[in-house]
């Protein structure tokens, strides 16, 4: 509850989350309508590409970058309010964690929507793996102050997300379960490391900003 309250403090993003939810609902409705038709194959390939590009990046940018900007001098507006709050550092750390939870929920929703279409769960596991990798990247670039570098990293994230899906598209359904499982574990570990990194540095970031 504290996490959600802190996240709400930094980011009043209901409208964005509602838009994303509506988008998912529309995709799910399209899938149901198209199922058992000739266009369903095309729909699936489109869905796979878009979900990987949209989910990790859009959700993470909304959840993490927005939170960061709220606390940064570069934002120009609002940062004095956030920094003057009691327990400002704790709130910021919790808000970053809240951003991660929202992003993970997004991944879960994608998996849930996808499970409506795919007979093999392998594809969904793959979706989760890709989402976690890119959420990790988002976490690692959260405190990059150079906007050009950050933008470049985000563009690479979006581009690679679509690219990887396209590259492995042929093999994913035939990959052995064990390989997928190990990949999932490895990605979860990387993600955990990124989460620890971003949380450990939230206080340090705030203190550094205050010294500017």
């Amino acid at each position: 509850m504290k996490i959600l309250r802190s996240y709400k403090l930094f980011s009043f993003g209901h409208r964005r989350i509602i838009i994303l939810a509506a988008w998912f609902a529309a995709v799910a409705a399209c899938g149901f309508t198209l199922k058992n038709t000739a266009a369903f194959e095309d729909f699936l390939s489109g869905f796979v590409g878009v979900q990987h590009m949209v989910i990790p990046c859009v959700l993470s940018i909304i959840a993490l970058n927005g939170t960061l900007l709220a606390n940064s001098t570069n934002a120009g507006f609002g940062y004095k309010f956030f920094r003057s709050l009691p327990n400002a550092e704790k709130h910021f750390g919790r808000a970053v964690l809240g951003g991660n939870i929202i992003s993970l929920l997004g991944t879960a929703v994608v998996a849930a929507v996808g499970s409506l279409y795919f007979e093999s769960m392998l594809m969904l596991k793959f979706s989760v793996v890709v989402s976690m990798v890119f959420l990790s990247i988002m976490n690692f670039v959260t405190y990059v102050e150079n906007y050009f570098l950050k933008l470049a990293l985000l563009m690479l994230t979006i581009g690679f997300a679509g690219g990887i899906v396209g590259f492995f598209g042929e093999q994913e359904f035939t990959a052995p379960n064990a390989v997928v499982l190990y990949t999932l574990i490895a990605c979860a570990a990387v993600y955990a490391a990124s989460l620890i990194y971003v949380l450990m540095n939230s206080g340090k970031f705030t203190r550094k900003e205050r010294k500017k």
């Binding site: 802190s6 507006f77 609002g78 003057s84 009691p86 500017k212």
Partner: protein
Amino acid sequence: MESIISASGLVKSYSKFTLGQLSFSIPKGFSTALIGANGAGKTTLIDILCGVIHASEGKINYFGESSDPDSPAVRERVGYCAAAGFFPTNWKPKNIASSFEIAYKNFDREKFARLCGELGVESHLAKKQLPMYKLSDGNRMRTALAAVFARETDVLILDEPGSSLDPLMRDRLCDKFREYLDRGDGEKSVIFSTHNIADMENATDYAVFMGNGKIIETGFVDDLKEKYIIVRGDPEKFPAARELLLSYSSNSTTFEGLAYAENSEKLRLLGAVTEHPTLQTLSVGLLKYAEGKR
């Protein structure tokens, strides 16, 4: 006299500006104005006092108890409002009310709505609320002041609260300061910055004059009005009087300047006219003096 906030050896260094070293004590139970020209260091000092930025050196003591500007207990007792862009631009009054409620233990939603009404801006109860970026600077400041006044605090620290307000609203703000101080019965204090003291004179008990990152003068307004005099005279008397003036301006018909009151007899003997300054004329004189020493 008991102080609400005191500082010793306070320094904040930037590449092109250094604040300090500052040592001062703000009296408890009064309204204190930080007066200075643009770039004098008022906002930097307020940001340090409110924990927005950290000082490079020095110590601050709050309420005679804590020396940690980041202490949650201190922040609960301080009502702070920045000069511009205090809230994110997309926030509406309902977001402000929610965030104050999350962040502070002592925020009163109903009081916020009432104060918004008194200050003539939309509250969180309004059906259609405009985001901050659609409001004028004055209305943004009114909304922020309503939020700050809706908390139970022991000291208000406000950065240029009157600058964006119209004269009528500045007058109302002065009344609000007085109400706040009266309600505290000597326990509550107000600190605000301004570069235009004329409309806030009624709300000022104690003044801290700043120039070029340093404190030029501090004191109760009544004492300062006794300490200094405004001097006027014919231009032919100016050369003789100039040595006794701290700052001055002259033209072909008259001269006017600021001097210590202890020199009033000498100045009168020179044929100059002396009078007690208003806070406005005192500010102009002292700020000119600081500019001249630069």
